[in-house]
């Protein structure tokens, strides 16, 4: 009885101000999808970051016969003795966790494998173009980098020392900036959504003032008077969320997943990540609409 009555009232309310309801659903949908996109972005950045963290953090490129830097042209390509010396010296540094020597052949092999999707690019690089190198893993990249760099820099046979994290930092800055922009827009839209919910509920309360007047008169409890409005807000929120769930699935499959082609490794978000974000969006949407309509009504339906 109660449930049927409430849903009948809700249906009347939603139908009576259909345009406002549609506007509400659209705004909720867009703000939730933007929020969700921001959250997916965060997860995506985390995904790539975790990948890199387990990787090489410092590369020491050695001189080859094709190197053009003044240092290499002066000393010539790194000799096996120089390489062995570097290896022992690096191993003695307490800041170094591990080192791996990669020969030119190995480097070329890895390069071919990582860019196997792009054969035209692979064909432009020759076997001797990629220098041999030491891949050094440090305990603490930022603090330890200068110490290690100092020990090996300028030695015969050493071409370039590259801090991988400094390259990644720029990449992360870009991603973080994009994420922040998305989140700021999402928050502005959520504020708009809250105001729209408040307005829609107010309009609905005004439309039904006759009913609510009689309800109060015959002694309906405050909760009973407010429930249809509350459910109305929550249902609009749920519809908005459904639309946003669709949009989020689209964002993931049509946009984020295509990022994969720019990465040699797996950065694709799992379905669990997506479901997590969608569920979070639902909770936010429902709480937002429910709380807003409840607070709006408290001002309009006093005993």
């Amino acid at each position: 009885m109660r449930a049927q009555f409430v849903f009948h009232e809700v249906w009347i309310g939603l139908r009576r101000n259909l345009t406002m309801t549609i506007a509400l659903i659209v705004v909720v949908a867009i703000s939730l999808s933007l929020l969700g996109t921001g959250l997916l972005f965060v997860k995506q950045v985390d995904n790539t970051r975790t990948y890199w963290q387990g990787r090489v953090q410092l590369s020491i490129y050695l001189c080859t016969s094709t190197s053009v830097s003044p240092q290499c042209t002066k000393n010539g390509p790194a000799t096996p003795a120089e390489i062995a010396q570097l290896d022992t010296d690096l191993k003695q540094l307490p800041e170094v966790v591990s080192i791996r020597y990669e020969s030119q052949a190995q480097a070329y092999q890895r390069f071919k494998q990582e860019f196997s999707q792009d054969q035209s690019f692979v064909s432009t690089v020759g076997k001797g173009d990629i220098p041999n190198s030491f891949q050094v893993k440090l305990k603490n990249t930022e603090a330890d980098f200068p110490i290690v760099a100092e020990t090996v820099d300028g030695r015969p046979g050493v071409d370039q020392i590259v801090d991988d994290s400094s390259i990644l930092d720029k990449f992360y800055k870009l991603l973080n900036g994009a994420r922040n922009a998305v989140l700021v827009i999402a928050i502005i839209l959520i504020i708009a959504a809250v105001l729209l919910v408040a307005n829609t509920i107010r309009l609905s309360a005004f439309n039904r003032r006759r009913e609510t007047g009689i309800m109060r008169l015959v002694g309906a409890s405050n909760f009973y008077v407010q429930l249809p409005f509350l459910v109305e807000g929550v249902i609009a929120g749920l519809f908005g969320w459904l639309v946003s769930a669709g949009l989020l699935i689209a964002v993931k499959t049509l946009w984020l997943d295509t990022l994969q082609q720019y990465f040699p490794f797996n950065v694709q978000l799992s379905a669990t990540d997506l479901i997590e974000v969608i569920i979070l969006a639902m909770i936010i949407g429902v709480l937002l609409c429910g709380a807003t309509s409840f607070l709006t009504l408290r001002r309009y339906l006093r005993v």
Binding site: M1, R2, F5, R210, E211, G213, I214, M215, R216, L217, V218, G219, A220, S221, N222, Y224, V225, V303
Partner: protein, 229 residues
Amino acid sequence: MIHFDNVTKMYPNQSRAALESVSLDVEKGEFVFLVGPSGSGKSTFLRLVLKEERPTDGRIHVAGKDLARLTNWKVPHLRRRIGCVFQDFRLLPSKNVYQNIAFALEVIGKPRRFIRKVVPEVIDLVGLEGKRDRMPDELSGGEQQRVAMARAFVNRPMILLADEPTGNIDPATSIGIMKVLDRINRTGTTVVMATHDAAIVDSMRKRVIELEYGKVVRDQSRGVYGQAY
């Protein structure tokens, strides 16, 4: 049933009190007319009984409850024991006779079986047999007021408040309305009716309380509308 003890009601921004030091008692099962010119405080009295307004001073007891000590969330329970009828009927235009009456029970969460049983009974009591599917705009003023009375009475309240129930109705039809109110009163329900209608008051010979400028100027059992000392 209704007990006013030295009640004063001041509205904000008004120099004169709407009710001034009103003390009176209405016993269970009584039928009381509240008479007096417009602005004499009749409506304020009814609103105070419903706790739609709070008195500036004095104590009010309704159905054994001290209204000052009644918390806001218990006010609905007070109102379930009080039925209300107004000059303008206040029916829902989109609901038919049956639905309008059932609405009062639905919103206080009564089970459907109970509603199906009592609504037809009360439709018979107010004399609207065979009109349960009519919409309010298909009914005459008198019939609409009968629907309003059915809605006010369907939950068997202890008190029925009527604010000029015959104000929009011609004298001949008003007699029928009064008959229904009398029938409701005979079931043991206390009836308080605010009115301007001298003919009705004179013909009923019930207790009359006359208000003037917010003060009780006459309280007479088996009274008439005008001054009749």
